[in-house]
Symmetry: C2
Subunit: 154 residues, 2 copies
């Protein structure tokens, strides 16, 4: 399996679990937050989705200005938004060449460092796993007790 395929597999192994959790969130819980300073469930989910999409777009384009691009999303059904951004992110990841994975990105302004794209995508994975972990607590607090394993191999 080449590096791009491995990356896509690792992405899906976690994203498919994020999708399962989102499928458990009913509309009346979109604004649920565990404490007054927490993100709402809706904000947490869109943060997960938009972040990975942006990380993948920066890796593909080599242009860190993408991080500042505002994403306008009019769809209000979280399940549909999740489906759309999972597909868009997967397509971007699948298209990455070895040259693009090895390209060093200047992220000095944002993260104070220059790193190759494949390391940025490792950070993207860590970011997804971190926030998905939080989402597990949210979904349990919404009353669900049957939750998936944290990773799902294809």
């Amino acid at each position: 399996m080449n590096r791009t395929n491995q990356l896509v597999q690792r992405f899906l192994a976690h994203r498919n679990v994020t999708v399962e959790l989102v499928n458990k969130i009913e509309k009346e819980h979109y604004n649920y937050k565990p404490t007054p300073t927490s993100m709402t469930a809706k904000d947490l989910v869109t943060h997960i989705l938009f972040s990975f999409y942006r990380f993948a777009k920066v890796a593909k384009s080599g242009n860190s200005a993408v991080f500042s691009e505002k994403i306008e999303e009019t769809e209000t059904d979280l399940r549909k938004v999740t489906e759309t951004y999972t597909e868009k992110t997967k397509s971007l990841l699948e298209s990455l060449t070895d040259e693009e994975l090895d390209r060093v990105l200047d992220l000095t302004q944002r993260f104070g460092m220059k790193i190759p794209a494949f390391q940025l995508l490792q950070l993207a994975l860590d970011h997804e796993i971190h926030h998905k972990g939080q989402l597990f607590v949210y979904v349990r607090e919404m009353g669900h007790t049957e939750l998936p394993f944290f990773i799902k191999r294809g």
Copy 2:
């Protein structure tokens, strides 16, 4: 930087954040849990610590029976337990050779697959990040609003 050093750096980038969170948990919150079916804060922290230690021991020894070893720990101060197991795990990871990282481990009984040790350690990192994400929610629910970033580069 060689693979072992990269691995140790990635371990510490997340473990150092786990340590910061543990340092915020007072004894009266050790038995806190967000819902009746959740792990307590104490169980979540020791699960994080013991799991990575076991993953590292399996990688080092090549023996998957280590997963079933019971860890007897008499220390009750979570900060001290965290310090001890972080040190033990770090030492194990630092000692790993390229041969040991590439050794294929038979984890058919436990995870239904045979994988090289370096992939098992990737799973160990994912596991730490997942549960640390949950710990962030717990600690915020204990009343803390000043929380670290989810990853801390050395």
